[in-house]
Amino acid sequence: MNIFFYIAAVVAIISTIMAISGKNAIHSLLFLILSLLAVSVIFYLLNAPFIAALEVIIYAGAIMVLFIFVTMMLNVGIENKNGNKLTNPRKWIVSSILAAILLVDFILALKNVPASPSVDQVILPKQVGISLFSTYLLAVEIAAILLMAGVIGAYHLGSQKKKVTHRFLEKK
C-alpha cells in the first residue's frame, strides 16, 4: 500500500506545481484534474472508496468541466497575458511568508497530536450515508440550504422575458 501511496502523492504534488506554474490556462486545468485524480487514488488507498469515487465524479468530472467550459467560452486558453506578472518575485513575498507561518504551525500541531490509528476496515457507502444523516445532519442541511440559495439565484439571473426580434412582431 505504501509504495502506491507515495506514487500517487508524488503525482499529486508535481501536477499541482505544474497547474499553478503553467501559462496556458487549459493545460493548467488539465494538470489540476490530474492532481484531483491522484488525490482520489490516495483516498482509495486509505480505505475510503466512496469518497474516492465522489472526488472523481464531483470534482474531476463536474466542477472542472465547468471551469474548462468557461475558459473555452472566454477563449483565454491559448495565450495568458497576465502570465508574466505572476513570475515577478515581489508578488510572492507576502503569500510566501503567510504560507511559511502556516507550515510551521501545521508541523507543530502534528507533533502534538497523537497519531490516529490507521483505518483497517473499508468504509462502505452505506456507513458514510448513515453518519451523514445522523451525526452530521445539521451540516448536510446547511449545505442544502446554501445550494438552494444558489439555484434560486441562478434562476433569477438566468430568467429573462421572451424577446421578439423580428421587425414585424415588434410592439411599438
Binding site: 487549459i26 469515487a53 465524479i57 474531476a60 468530472g61 468541466v65 474548462i68 467550459f69 452505506k126
Partner: protein, 314 residues
C-alpha cells in the same frame, strides 16, 4: 494467470463487438430503409469492417498545425480509456468479471463524467469554430444528462442494497428490476443515448450544421478512435442496462450465462440503432428542456417513491 485471461477476454469481446457494430449498424439501417447496405466484401459483407479498419490505418494522420498538439493527440485516448475501464467492473457471467468493485456504479459514473473531457478537449484543441461549438454543446448536454443518469440508478441501488454490479445481478434472482424500476430504466436509457451522443441526441456532431462537430479536424486513426469509441459507448450502455434492469447473465440454464448477457446486450444495441433509423434530431434548447423539466423531476420522483415503498415494506 486466470485474471489475465479474463482481462483479455473482456477486451476482446468489447472491442470486437464495437468494431463489428459498424457493419451491423449499416446493415440494419439499410434493412429499415429498404436498401441492401454493404454486402460485397466477404460473406454478407462482414469483412467490410476489416476493409474499413485497414483504410483508417493507412490514411494520413494529420495533426493540424494550428491546433494545441498535446491535447489534440490525447483527446481520443481519453474516450477509449474511460469506456474500456468501465468494462472491468461489469460481470459477463457468474465468475467472468475482472474486478468486483463495491463502488461499481460510482466507478461507471466517474468514468462517464471523465469521458466528457475527451469530446470537450478534442473540440477545443482543434482550434476550429465548428469543433468548438460542438464541444460546447457536448459539455452542456453531457453535464446535464449525467445528473439524472446517476439519480435514475439510485432506485436500483436501494433495492439491491449495494453499488456492486455482481450483487445487483444476484439480487435480481427473484425478478428483474425492470418492473419495479420502470421509470428509472426510461430515464437511464434516454440519458444513456445523450451520454453517448447518438442520434437522435447527436447535436455535438450534428453533421448538417457543424461539419462533423467536435471531430471535424480529426483524421486517420485518431478519428477511428472517436468512431470506435462511440460504438464502445453504445455497447457499454446496453450492457449496463442489461445488467441493472434485465438480470445481467441470469437466464434459463440450457445456455451458458455469458450467452444470455450478450443476447440482452445485443437487444439494446439493436434498439439504439432502431432509434437512429426512426427519430429526428431535436433542437438544442428542446434537448435541455426535456432534460431539466421532464427527466430530472421524473428521476427524483422515482427515487423518493422507491425509498418510501422500501421503508413501508420493511
Amino acid at each position: 494467470m486466470k485474471i489475465l485471461l479474463i482481462i483479455a477476454g473482456v477486451l476482446l469481446i468489447a472491442l470486437s463487438i464495437a468494431a463489428g457494430l459498424i457493419w451491423v449498424e449499416r446493415r440494419l439501417l439499410a434493412l429499415w430503409q429498404d436498401r441492401l447496405g454493404p454486402n460485397r466484401v466477404g460473406p454478407f459483407g462482414v469483412a467490410q469492417v476489416i476493409a474499413d479498419t485497414v483504410k483508417l490505418l493507412f490514411k494520413e494522420d494529420w495533426v493540424p498545425p494550428f491546433s494545441d498538439k498535446p491535447v489534440f493527440i490525447m483527446a481520443p485516448g481519453i474516450l477509449m480509456i474511460t469506456i474500456l475501464l468501465t468494462f472491468a467492473v461489469l460481470p459477463f457471467g457468474p465468475n467472468f468479471y475482472v474486478f468486483d468493485s463495491n463502488i461499481g456504479i460510482l466507478f461507471f459514473l466517474g468514468n462517464s463524467s471523465l469521458g466528457v473531457y475527451s469530446i470537450v478537449l478534442g473540440g477545443w484543441a482543434s482550434n476550429n469554430k465548428y469543433a468548438l461549438i460542438g464541444a460546447m454543446r457536448a459539455s452542456a448536454q453531457m453535464l446535464t444528462y449525467e445528473v439524472f443518469m446517476g439519480l435514475s440508478l439510485m432506485g436500483v441501488v436501494m433495492m439491491a442494497d449495494s453499488f456492486s454490479f455482481c450483487t445487483i445481478v444476484e439480487a435480481q434472482k427473484g425478478g428483474w428490476f425492470i418492473i419495479p424500476q420502470f421509470f428509472g430504466f426510461v430515464v437511464f436509457f434516454i440519458a444513456g443515448i445523450a451520454e453517448t451522443h447518438r442520434l437522435p441526441f447527436d447535436i455535438p456532431e450534428a453533421e448538417g450544421e457543424l461539419i462533423a462537430g467536435y471531430h471535424s479536424e480529426y483524421s486517420g486513426f485518431k478519428f477511428g478512435m472517436f468512431f470506435v469509441g462511440e460504438y464502445l459507448g453504445i455497447t457499454l450502455i446496453s450492457a449496463i442496462i442489461a445488467t441493472l434492469f434485465f438480470g445481467g447473465w441470469l437466464g434459463p440454464s440450457f445456455l451458458p450465462p455469458v450467452f444470455w448477457f450478450l443476447l440482452k446486450t445485443f437487444f439494446f444495441i439493436g434498439l439504439f440503432i432502431l432509434l437512429r433509423a426512426s427519430l429526428p434530431r431535436p433542437r438544442y434548447d428542446q434537448l435541455m428542456k426535456l432534460g431539466w423539466k421532464v427527466l430530472f423531476p421524473l428521476a427524483l420522483i422515482n427515487l423518493i417513491v422507491t425509498g418510501a415503498v422500501l421503508i413501508f415494506l420493511k
